[in-house]
Amino acid sequence: MAALTRRLLCNTAWRQTVVPSLSSFGNRNYTINATEQQVLSCAKYGGRHCVTLMTGDGVGPEILTHVQEIFRYAGAPIDFETVEINSSTTDAAYLEAALLSVQRNGVALKGNIETKFDDAEFRSMNVALRSRLDLWSNIVWCRSFKGVNARYDDIDIVLIRENTEGEYSSLEHESVTGVVESLKIITAEKCERIARYAFDFAARNGRKKVTAIHKANIMKLADGLFLESCRKVSEDYADIKFSDMIIDNASMQMVSRPQQFDVLLMPNLYGNILSSIAAGLVGGAGLVPGMNVGAKYAVFESGTRNSGRSLKGKNIANPTGMLLASCDMLDYLGHHNVGALIRESVLDVIAQPQHQTPDMGGQATTTDVIQAIIDDIKPKTQTRNQQAN
């Protein structure tokens, strides 16, 4: 029994297992399942998982309401615990309550929280959540969508980004008036951890190549340490090709020939940049889901972390990214059938021009798209119920 407990509790956070998904998504059918330790952290009552819902700012609240609606129609066994946290809840108690909720439930679905950077006292809540929950890996899987107008239609890049250190350490001071220093911290431990995660992900998903992105020619110590850690880990994975590329060259290659990339392994800021570029290439911020994973917790959100402030209340925001993130969440929790069902409907619906929102070049409203998805889901659930009977 002790041995069993020890096995369950050992830190195998990077060993995400992979389950073939029933929905097709371009050429790739794989999604991400929770590890044993993560499963232990997920609150499950009577077969139903409880998930923290952080609505955030901008279009977050409206889209997450739609997500809940679709979950109801699809019969997803998820109960949402909504916690209030956005740019106006500046009291520390709100952040603590949100953290406690995620620690209790193990999983969260999150809208982006705006950062009022002109206010010196305002701390970025997104960064605080990620660092306090130690969500050290951010995964954005950019795949070309069928029927979506984009410059390339054969992109399949997994961007794995270190999520807690680097330029996002929030350590700054004004040493002399008019001179500000910002510290970028790189540690060997976290570099090795994220590198191991990336290689393991690649190995288990049948990916062939991992490319580390850096600027070690200029930042010799910091990015040099990152690169060295990646190289060391790559030696344990002889089947996976390891290469490295400088960030500016990578940006240029990304816009001219994105098909050459397979898995990208990056420190924090470069990951932010390349994820944004890759998301733009497959169709935009509204389409791409993202997940933040640590040893125990996982938070799902949009891949590019935009709040969509300018679209708020206009009913034109694209719900796809958040819906796909919620499908990833269902897979993570083991509800593969429902996850696949919703994902399939979402992808089928957005492939049709009449159901494309303005950011995709169409004219549909958010509610049009949601209704179309619900209409697509309904017959499938009825068939399933009839089959069950």
């Binding site: 910002s182 930042m219 340490l225």
Partner: protein
Amino acid sequence: MAARAIRTAFSQINSVPKSHGQGVLPFLQERFLESQSCPSNTRQYSSAGSASIQKVTMIPGDGIGPEISQAVKDIFEAAGAPIIWEDVDVTPIKGPDGNFHLPQAIFDSMAETKMGLKGPLATPIGKGHKSLNLALRKAFSLYANVRPCKSIEGYKTPYDEVDLVTIRENTEGEYSGIEHTIVDGVVQSIKLITETASRRVAEYAFKFARDNNRSTVTAVHKANIMRMSDGLFLKCCREVASKNKDIKFTEHYLDTVCLNMVQDPTQFDVLVMPNLYGDILSDLCAGLIGGLGVTPSGNIGEDGAIFESVHGTAPDIAGQDKANPTALLLSAVMMLRHMQLGEYGDRIEKAALDTIREGEVLTGDLGGEATCSAFTKEICRRIQS
């Protein structure tokens, strides 16, 4: 007799010597010294009707550098641009202290001409000296890197009608080179942002926008994450913007700009940003128009300016007459505009772009089979016709 002497002297002045500024006539030398009293970073010779000739330091560079520099010189001669070139070799030399330094010749030359055109330099890694680019930048306080990215007709990329300019702070930021190992396995790298440098580059951005009829300047930052450092940069940009109300000012997060850039690059005009973001974004924009082989670049300083091609030395095709001089040529055109010789710049640029648009004589990287010399000759032919 006196009249003939004067006539000879005048004809000698008006013919621009083909070689590189050695053996300049005493008359001209006198003019060099005279114009040292002129302010600003462009060296203008006061002229009473005849063409004023300006001296420019040329750093041919390594690999394909010499070939493309020669191509540029040939094209300038065909256009009759009043430029004398002074070639300088910047291979580092070992000083008495055992360290490698830039040769003194480059400093002397640039101090005199205040204008440079640089070909690609090889940066050998781990040879015990700092990057040459970095050294030049520091020596001449080149604080703004300007890269105009305009789609080239005839060189098709998936992105059409790109016409933007990235202006990047060139001296500080993440590239300060200040790093420490705190304990084994923990490294800190310091990003330095100062009010002076930020204000200076913001002022240059607005000046550039005004001088080149651009309507919008956008500051690119990550102040949500780096509150104080990018916050300071943004504050300086806003202050300068409030003094330049005739130009529209917007600000965007870096990731938003990257996202929108690959979807619709036509929405951007002039972008101003700190060092690292500028490095990445300017290369991104170069990728949109076709790569570094066709992108011009200029480094503006308080003490002068160096315009350069930003591609590599291409050692695999060096010496084979296969190189494409477009990047260096367009940088030279930028230089002409900076020197208030815009009409020559326009003619040369038009000839070069027409050649690429017609598509008959193109180098290998542009999709053709012509040699570098054939491409150059074609451009010269167009200028002179």
